[in-house]
Amino acid sequence: MTSELDRRAVVAALLKEPGELLVVAGLGTATYDVGAVAERSLNFYLWGAMGGAAMVGLGLALAQPDRRVLVITGDGEMLMGLGALATIAAQRPQNLAIAVLDNASYGETGGQQSHTALGVDLAAVATGCGWTHVCRVREAAELDTLRRRLREEPLFAVIPVSRGEPSRHLPPRDGAFLSSRFRAALGVA
C-alpha cells in the first residue's frame, strides 16, 4: 500500500474539538497518538492489557448510555481481542465506535508484519460479527465525515496508516491516576 495516511494527523482529525467524548486508547502507538494530540481527563490510555481496549469501551458505553465512547487502537491490539467484535455486536450499543489505525505491523516490537499485511480484513471480520456500520477510510478528505460518523453511529472504522514511526509522546501511565481523573471528570467518582 502506498497512499496511507499519517496516523498522528488522522488521530488529530478524529479528536478535533473532542467536547465530552469518552476516549479509550489501545496500548502502543495509539496511546501515544491520543496523548500527543489531545491529552485530557476524559481519555483513558492503556499501557498494557493488550486486546482489551474494545471491551473497556463496551463496559464504559453500557455504563454511560447517554455519552459517546470512541476506542482508538491499532491493528495488532484489535487482532488480539477479535472476539470482542462478536461480543460488542451482540450487545449492539448505539454509543460505541471503534477506529482502528491499521499500519499492518507491530510497530512497538520491530515492525513485524501483522495479520492485516497477510490477508486478514478487519472490516470484514466486524461485518461478519454483525456490525452493521463498517467503513474503510483511505483519503484525508474523508476524515471530517469519519469524525462525525464516529460520534453519531455505532461505527467500526479501519484507517490504513503509514508505518513511519511518529515522535514518541508519552501520556501519563499511572493507571490509578488515569482512572481517578477520568471518573472525576465524568462525575462518577
Binding site: 473497556v56 463496559g59 458505553a61 453500557l62 481481542g81 493507571g175 490509578a176 488515569l178 482512572s179 471518573r183
Partner: protein
Amino acid sequence: MQQASWQDAVYEALRRAGIRQLAYVPDAGHARLIARAHEDPEMRAIVLTTEEEGVALATGAWLGGARAVLLMQSSGVGNCINMLSLPQNAHVPFFTLITMRGEWGEFNPWQVPMGSATPRVLEAMGVHVLRAERAEEAAATVEAAAALAFDSTVSVAVLLSQRLIGPKVFVR
C-alpha cells in the same frame, strides 16, 4: 432447578451490591444466575467469547460509574491472567464468581490442571480469593466479597466449590 434457592440468594446478593453488568462465559453451575440476569430489566447480561473480555469490560464499567461481575468456570481463569493487570494497575475493583472443576468427583481429566492451579494463579495476579463450600454460606460469601472488591477497590474472586455445584454427570 434443584439448587435454585442458594443460587437465587447469590443473585440477590449481586443485586444488593449494586451490580448492573453481568458478564459470563456460560457454565452449567452459573446457569441460574445467567437466566436471572437475562430476565432482569435492570441487569445487563453480556455473553463473552473468552473470559478476559470480562476483565476489561469490568474496568470500563467502573470508569463509567457502574459495577460489573464476571461469571466463569475455573478453566477460564488462565485466559484472564495478563488482563488482570488492568484493574490492578488502574486501581479499579474486579469481582468474579468462579465455578470450580477438577476437584470434587471430576470425571474429565482435562479439567484438573487448571482447576488445581486456579487459586494459586489468581493469588499470583493479586486477586483475593474466597471460597464457598456449602449452600448456606454462598450468598454471605458473595456479599462479603463484593463489599471487599467495591469498597476497598481490589480484585476479588469467589470460588464456588465443585462439591457445592455438584460434579458434572456424564452418561456413559
